[in-house]
């Protein structure tokens, strides 16, 4: 048996550095390509994660429970009893980390000067604190101190529009459970500053006790939002809840906020296209370099064959050279990409494009999220496609006729 493996490996390594300038240039291209793939994947993953986190934090949770018909017509008529035994049993599922009952109705908030249509939310301050963005977004005043707190919390932008401020009174008007107009004055006890303007202008929060009293709801609520320990178990938990609560409408976040799901899928899909574009540009460089190396060494390949090296080993030598080039390039590219992502810290501020980004369910600062899966995909794309493209020059080298190759100048 021909024992040329160690020879072929040594030759591949030495030949790699035979033309240092050319090797450096192509290494630079591979590093740049790997860097672009990984950083772009981290950016897309960051956007995707942010879309998801924003969707969950924006009062959606991983799963929601409503009375049938509420999502099509979100009015007080579709409230349901939150104290029922089957519901309590279902909500004791071990996958559920937190749930929060809410009253959620359309309403009008009026100050002395202006009025604004909003979604009025009656929330339980204890459970809601762990559920949505509200508590951590309060910038003035405070969060509700009890389940029957008489105050209202509004967004910074809404306060500006209503020309009101902390400590001032506003009137909230809506329809109660008996289809009568219900209105009541609330003092502004807190102002929140959210990542997205729509959150600041679209919602007004009162305590669940105050909402039930104002709307004559007794034990009823409009929705129950649920957060899970692990979002990956959403579908399985959803199925269990559906089985236990056949009389209620149980839906996952991606059915409640389909736009967020669409954007999330789009960001993730764009990574694949980006990988292909970068590789196409880089692939031509790699093939060209290896082809040049093969043309330059035609005589040597002829000589190796003359001395008894089988064509398969010639192919292996060229291929190994490409493999070493790719491994070195990828190692440096991964390191540089990792350092770049580290340097961005919490993310990059894209507030200059704030309005458009909000429509895409994004915040003003987009984080870079580097995952092992994305790293693996980027490296696999470069390595596998790189080696496949180098098969051509390697095959050319292997099929040279020794007598002709050896006399080639």
């Amino acid at each position: 048996m021909n024992k040329g493996y160690t020879l072929v490996a040594a030759l591949a390594w030495r030949n790699l550095w035979r033309n240092p300038r050319r090797t450096t240039v192509i290494l630079f291209a591979i590093v740049l390509g790997a860097w672009a793939m990984i950083v772009m994947a981290a950016y897309a993953r960051g956007m995707s994660k942010q879309v998801f986190d924003n969707a969950i934090d924006n009062l959606t949770g991983h799963i929601q429970i409503h009375a049938p018909g509420y999502l099509e017509d979100p009015v007080i008529d579709y409230a349901f009893d939150s104290a029922q035994t089957t519901l309590k049993t279902a909500l004791s599922d071990p996958e559920i980390a937190q749930f929060s009952p809410r009253v959620r109705v359309p309403a009008v908030v009026a100050s002395e000067r202006e009025s604004q249509g909003v979604t009025l939310l009656g929330i339980d301050p204890v459970t809601e604190a762990k559920m949505s963005f509200l508590r951590k977004s309060i910038v003035a005043g405070n969060f509700f101190v009890s389940a029957r707190d008489p105050g209202v919390i509004i967004g910074k932008k809404l306060a500006e529009r209503l020309e009101t401020a902390l400590g001032r009174r506003v009137v909230i008007m809506t329809q109660d459970a008996h289809s009568k107009i219900a209105d009541r004055g609330f003092r502004v006890v807190g102002i929140f500053d959210a990542m997205m303007d729509a959150q600041e202008t679209g919602f007004a929060f009162i305590s669940l006790g105050a909402a039930r009293q104002m709307l004559n709801l007794e034990n009823r609520v409009s929705e129950i939002a649920i957060k899970l320990h692990d979002p990956a178990h959403t579908d399985a938990t959803l199925e269990r809840l559906k089985l236990q609560l056949p009389a209620l409408d149980v839906r996952a976040w991606y059915k409640l906020d389909m736009l967020a799901k669409l954007f999330q899928d789009t960001w993730e899909g764009s990574t694949f296209v980006w990988h292909l574009i970068v590789f196409l540009a880089m692939g031509f460089g790699i093939v060209n370099t290896i082809l040049m190396a093969v043309f330059e060494r035609t005589r040597e390949f002829g000589l190796f064959q003359a001395l008894g090296l089988k064509p398969g080993f010639i192919l292996l030598q060229v291929w190994l050279e490409a493999l070493l080039l790719l491994i070195i390039g990828l190692a440096i590219g991964n390191l540089v990409a990792w350092l770049s992502v580290l340097a961005t810290g919490d993310g990059i501020d894209v507030s200059a494009f704030g309005q458009g980004l909000e429509m895409a369910k994004l915040s003003k600062v987009i984080p870079f999220v580097l995952t092992a899966r994305d790293l693996l995909i980027a490296n696999a794309v470069v390595l596998i496609l790189g080696l496949l493209t180098c098969l051509y020059p390697a095959w050319r080298a292997a099929r040279l006729v020794p007598a002709h190759a050896i006399t080639r100048i």
Binding site: L11, R18, E300, A306, L307, K310, A403
Partner: protein, 224 residues
């Protein structure tokens, strides 16, 4: 005496566009073990083509070639490579050393492909380099050696694994007269002391002078 090379009616035709060029026309040749054969003749007479075909570097258009009991005309590319590895050594006009390997590594290369253990092949390579007068230059790479030294390395590489046959294509063509004389002495020494069989194509009368047998080629035929 046992024949190392046996060629019968070997023909080689090259196509250059629509024109057919006959490089070898029914060449017959038998080379016995321990022979020292010189092929001479004008350029284009078919010397190199015949050497290439005997070495399995090129395939004949017709005819039968047997080298070290191997029927070359029936063998695959891989089988030919295996046969060359174990039975034939080559010396080329242009030295053809691997520039990224040292003199020692160039000589070791064939044994490495044969699977000879590292220690043994280093020992044998050093021994052969000493025999060809290159002791002390083992770690130099080809660009750091003179033409004559490079050709000596090529001879060392050709003989280090004790092949049955060494094929040399104009080995003295690029050497000055003193270096050429030394190289001829070296090859003759290998022939007489170690019984290595040589088939050499050459224009050089000094090489022909040392040959046991001189053959002339004209228009692809062996005429004398």
């Amino acid at each position: 005496m046992h024949a190392v090379v046996s060629c019968k009616n070997v023909k080689k035709v090259y196509k250059q566009g629509a024109i057919e060029v006959i490089a070898l026309a029914d060449a017959d040749l038998t080379v016995d073990e321990g022979d020292f054969v010189c092929l001479s003749g004008p350029s284009g007479s078919g010397k190199t083509t015949l050497l290439n075909i005997i070495g399995g570097l090129d395939t004949p258009t017709a005819g039968e070639i047997i080298v070290a009991d191997n029927r070359l005309h029936t063998m695959s590319k891989s089988q030919l490579a295996e046969m060359r590895l174990h039975h034939i050594g080559f010396v080329f006009q242009a030295y053809n050393l691997i520039p990224v390997l040292t003199a020692l590594e160039n000589v070791e290369m064939v044994m490495q492909m044969q699977g000879v253990a590292k220690h043994e092949r280093a020992q044998r390579a050093r021994q052969v380099l000493k025999e060809v007068g290159l002791e002390g230059l083992e770690n130099r790479k080809p660009p750091e050696l003179s033409g004559g030294q490079q050709q000596r390395v090529a001879v060392a590489r050709a003989i280090v694994s004790n092949p049955k046959l060494v094929l040399a294509d104009e080995p003295t063509a690029n050497l000055d007269s003193k270096t050429a004389e030394n190289l001829i002495d070296l090859m003759r020494h290998m022939n007489t002391e170690h019984g290595v069989t040589f088939v050499i194509s050459t224009h050089d009368p000094r090489v022909m002078h040392h040959a046991k047998r001189n053959l002339s080629m004209v228009d692809g035929r062996i005429v004398a």
